[in-house]
């Protein structure tokens, strides 16, 4: 059983997944932020691998990627930083990123190196199911990494079932069709989340996009297993000299 599956076995309500861009705000802040997230009882960590042309991200996360790239972050550096990560971080860790940098690193080598440093799963928003099934899914499975597909309110029921069947770990329910960081009215998405709940999916569901505080986290968690916070946390880290303190302070406003 993977670390992510174990987590959901132990806890299936109000699971908090926090996104942070690797190498942001400083090149070497990646692991300290992860440690602080674990200490503040985040249940999962989603590490963004910065990319120059991120299509699904809003301006805040894109800006954090630009800074991380300026800081010198690369996939190779990230794996070096994560080498000792498991000595101090026990929660599941997911890498989120776009295909192009991974293809240049080498897809097989990327999965091998990710698994070797203790990464548990991948979110690659621009890898659709056709390419997953035909080329990349078997490599991901070979290294026992979970792969998390996204669904949106526009995704048909049939397709949700299909993406759920292909996913392992959890299913990422985007709260509305949008880039990250758009404010959402969580009550407006409850019907969609209820629809997911009634489908009795194989995977737990975490809600992302537009979750920023305790109220939106709890509203999103009502009809799902938990939620993912990204933009609001990136904003909280902006200009922070003590990333651990900023992290702990932010998570206290959510949990």
């Amino acid at each position: 059983m993977s670390r992510i599956q174990e987590l959901f076995k132990k806890k299936n309500k109000q699971v908090l997944n926090v996104y942070v861009t690797a190498g942001y705000p400083q090149l070497n802040s990646t692991v300290p932020v992860m440690q602080a997230l674990e200490k503040s009882s985040a249940d999962l960590i989603e590490l963004g691998m910065p990319y120059s042309d991120p299509l699904a991200d809003g301006p805040v996360i894109q800006a954090s990627s630009t800074i991380a790239l300026q800081n010198g972050m690369t996939i190779k550096k990230l794996f070096e930083q994560l080498k000792e990560m498991r000595a101090s971080v026990q929660v599941p860790v997911i890498l989120m990123g776009y295909m192009n940098p991974i293809l240049q690193y080498g897809f097989d080598k990327f999965c091998a190196d990710a698994a070797a440093v203790g990464v548990d799963g991948l979110i690659l928003p621009d890898l659709p199911e056709f390419e997953f099934e035909n080329e990349y899914g078997s490599i991901i499975k070979k290294y026992k990494l979970d792969f998390i597909f996204l669904v949106t309110p526009e995704t048909t029921t049939e397709r949700i079932k299909r993406l759920d069947a292909l996913s392992t770990g959890f299913l990422y329910a985007v709260s509305s069709s949008s880039t990250t960081g758009k404010d959402q009215n969580m009550s407006g998405v409850s019907a969609y989340l209820q629809r997911l709940q009634e489908m009795k999916l194989k995977n737990p569901v975490l809600v992302g996009f537009g979750i920023k505080d305790k109220a939106s986290f709890e509203a999103a968690s009502e009809f799902a297993n938990g939620a993912i916070i990204g933009t609001a946390f990136i904003k909280a880290l902006e200009g922070a000299s003590d990333v651990a303190a900023a992290t702990e302070q932010f998570i206290r406003t959510v949990k």
Partner: protein, 397 residues
Amino acid sequence: MSTTIYQQPDAQGYYGQFGGAYIPEMLHRNVEELRNQYRSIITSKDFRDEYQSLLRDYVGRPTPLYPAARLSAQFNTNIYLKREDLCHTGSHKLNNALGQILLAQRLGKKRIIAETGAGQHGVATATVCALKGIECIVYMGEKDIQRQAPNVARMKMLGATVIPATSGSKTLKDATNEAIRDWINNPNDTHYIIGSVVGPHPYPDMVATFQSVISEEIRKQLKEKTGSELPTHVFACVGGGSNAAGAFYHFTEEQTVKLVAVEAAGHGVESGLSAATTRLGKPGVLHGSKSLVMQTEDGQVVEPHSISAGLDYPGIGPMHANLFASGRGTFLSATDEEAVRAAFNLTQLEGIIPALESSHALAGLHQVDFKKDDVVVLCLSGRGDKDMATYMQAMGV
């Protein structure tokens, strides 16, 4: 015309190893809707009738195939210019924008977004939106807004909203990112009119199909002028590659026809300020498809450079990547300086001021040894009015 690996992609949008649809789930419904419907819509009688009549009466097609006597004499061969610069709005871009607005209408879309580099695609899109009374938003790199002021003014006059893209190199690549994000945020009522043969499947195929009117006409016109439908060479500039796709389309399976694509070398291929994708790029994923992409060792997309805003793009369409990788196409490059020189050469020999994009194709003529009886067709994709500031600078005016 038979379906082949060069001309059309497979069911998943692949031209050989290039193409596909690498898109976030948020775009899936839109892209799937297009993929399921575009073929049946654009082949329907109703669509074809309206498209053909507007191509004739509004765009001004067929555009002439002009035998350029003095240019031919200079190269001691036979050069024909396919005059896409004479299309309404001044470039081939209207062929595609018109096709897509008719498609968007039939899909019930109420809002159009587009990206533009030199502004020609933006002007074409703003024009067809005015024609059909549909809201138009054009994303344009901040740098391109500055260097293409006449086209920005035209778009605004046509009623479009021009939104500057301020990230990255502030050019076409970034305008494309912003347009895609707009589409993600407005999935229901919006159609994205992509201006080149790039983007997720079915865009490269759809845009190439709309532009294929260029090579269809070339074949007919050449037959009338020379007795043969087939030239020995077809030249076109390539940024994303829409005019080249249109000029090559009906020749891709004619192995006797050399397909010559000319990319922008900027200050020189190895100068660090270039947009010569086939020389500098590697297979990668950009803007929704797998193609050749200029990028760092770590897979970050590099900021390209060309004096021509329309060629200032770090990738090429998957159809072109396949032509390059298979050896079916010949890919040359021309520097900023060579392009400007070629523009002045054409202007003074033939009285035609070409767009800077087309000037790259013209500069490519200097790199090929022609025989006296060769028949060379060059796609003159646009007119140079928009580039007068650059030409004036070259003249020291």
